[in-house]
């Protein structure tokens, strides 16, 4: 392990499904330093989830590599964990909340397991719901349960695949604050994939803007807003507004590109 290397280096990643369709990813390249919060944004359907699945080794890229401190890795490694968008489908409906969380732990004795599960549940404020089943919880609570499962094994890198997309606006704000707080306290490196530009700028240290298909990195934008960030005061600073404007323009350019490309076919 070479500490001078980034915790994650996505090196010219390309991926296509089948031979006939245009590739989804084409030469996606960016790096993430340890402890950094990176957000990947892009027009919807540009292949953000595919990128995340390639990074998590749930899918093999056609070309390029994903390096962890300069090294390739095969199957999903133990230092990495992931929260999926759809909490409805990613939690085990036959396991209680605490057992769902314990699912993230391997080879530990019973007491230690229970202690770690309790810790994770406290971190997301679900300690009172440990014996309930996921389907007895609200959407936001379910996503907190999924979050607890992903941090219980104390990973080094947390991947978030649009984790706040399926909850209501108020819950989304609460979850954003909670995730930022947890990542900072655990000094987790976090990679967030989202289509929400404001969310990306608000949460991340760096925003990576992807193009439309085939996706490549259009621009990387450093976000130097001070932490801890606040939903009200941070979002009112000129710097925040400037960054949001910048990212928005970049994404909109990409969206317009799609519309223009498809226009002649539709007419």
């Amino acid at each position: 392990m070479d500490a001078r290397q980034p915790i994650l280096f996505v090196d010219h990643l390309s991926k296509a499904f089948g031979s006939a369709i245009a590739p989804i990813l084409k030469g996606v390249t960016f790096r993430q330093e340890p402890g950094q919060f990176v957000a990947v944004v892009g027009p919807s359907g540009c292949g953000k989830t595919t990128l995340l699945r390639c990074i998590a080794s749930l899918m093999q890229p056609d070309e390029g590599a994903v390096l962890h401190y300069g090294r390739r890795f095969g199957d999903p490694p133990e230092w990495l964990s992931i929260v999926f968008q759809d909490y409805n489908r990613s939690l085990f409906p036959w396991l209680s909340v605490s057992k769902n969380v314990a699912f993230g732990l391997r080879e530990l004795d019973k007491d230690e397991k229970a202690e770690r599960v309790n810790q994770a549940l406290r971190a997301v404020g679900l300690e009172h719901a440990s014996d309930l089943y996921p389907w007895q919880l609200s959407g936001g609570m379910q996503q907190r349960c999924a979050l607890a499962r992903s941090i219980v094994a104390q990973p080094k890198l947390l991947l978030l695949d649009e984790p706040f997309a399926s909850v209501d606006a108020q819950t989304r704000i609460d979850l954003q604050d909670m995730v930022m707080d947890i990542c900072q306290r655990m000094s987790l490196s976090t990679l967030l994939v989202t289509h929400d530009i404001e969310e990306a700028v608000f949460m991340a240290d760096k925003v990576v803007v992807l193009s439309t298909r085939p996706a490549h990195v259009v621009e990387e934008i450093a976000v130097d807003l001070p932490r801890p960030r606040d939903q009200l005061t941070t979002k009112e600073t000129p710097e925040f507004l400037r960054l949001r404007h910048r990212v928005y323009m970049l994404v909109r350019q990409q969206v317009q590109k799609i519309t223009l490309e498809h226009l002649p076919e539709k007419v």
Binding site: L58, D75, S81, I82, W94, Y133, W135
Partner: protein, 263 residues
């Protein structure tokens, strides 16, 4: 809840109709005695004689033993094989055509063949019952295993689950609702095959008891035997449903059939 007319009425009707039919039977049996219509007390006598003493050991116990061994084997083998086949896509094209063909063979049709194969033994009867009841379980398990939510499999992969644990901790629970549906069908088939297998070259069991009493024109005992089989079927189905209700409580809750607060 205070019982009122609306609640009692349907219940009263059910009892009334049943009692009416029994009275009609008894009246006809007494007024016009015929071999095919024995009076109720004779049937009741036959029924209770089956539940006590020698007949219990020579008719009910052998039947239940065969049913239990064959049914449990069918459920166990059917779900294990089904989960393996459903999870390993590569296996399916090889075995699926065989199963799709075999499932259409009525288990009764293989009775003579299995008689040749195993002789008039318990083994033969158990084989026939298991053959008949394994296919609903097997096909339901294949189906259930194939339709496991892909995201749960991703969660399992990210958490580096080994294959045996993946099958038992993710695929099996996910397929369980489907498997239980297959098991319910299997139970009724198993009961049918249990009786039929005891009609051929048998010297004990409920099927044999019914057949022998029919040959001796002891009609009351024939009906008593049939009633005992009905009781067994009712009891086993009830037990299976109670088990399902316990094991799959999460499933009913998940599908929104349970009160979320009261589960």
């Amino acid at each position: 809840m205070i019982p009122n007319r609306a609640h009692i009425a349907p219940f009263a009707w059910q009892i009334g109709v049943t009692a009416g039919l029994l009275v009609l039977w008894q009246w006809v049996a007494v007024m016009h005695p015929a071999p095919y219509l024995p009076p109720l007390q004779n049937i009741a006598l036959g029924y209770f004689r089956l539940l006590h003493g020698d007949l219990f050991w020579s008719a009910i116990v052998p039947s239940l033993y065969r049913l239990a061994v064959a049914f449990l084997a069918a459920v166990l083998l059917g779900s294990l094989a089904g989960i393996a086949i459903g999870s390993l896509r590569a296996l399916e094209p090889w075995v699926r055509p065989v199963f799709e063909y075999l499932r259409f063979i009525p288990a009764v049709a293989i009775l003579p063949a299995s008689l040749l194969l195993f002789g008039a033994t318990d083994k033969m009867r158990i084989f026939v019952i298991a053959f008949g009841s394994i296919f609903p379980v097997l096909l339901a398990a294949i189906d259930g295993a194939r339709r496991v939510e892909p995201m749960l499999l991703d969660v399992a992969r990210v958490n580096r689950l080994k294959v045996p644990k993946l099958l038992f901790c993710v695929v099996l629970p996910a397929a369980l609702p489907s498997i239980f549906a297959g098991v319910r069908i299997a139970l009724s088939i198993a009961l049918v095959m249990m009786v039929i297998s005891e009609l051929i070259a048998a010297d004990d069991g409920l099927g044999f008891y019914i057949l022998r009493n029919q040959r001796l024109f002891l009609t009351a005992n024939v009906y008593a035997g049939v009633l005992v089989i009905g009781t067994i079927g009712f009891g086993l189905t009830f037990a299976l449903l109670s088990l399902e209700k316990r094991v799959l409580a999460w499933h009913r809750g998940w599908r929104g059939l349970l009160d979320p607060k009261g589960a």
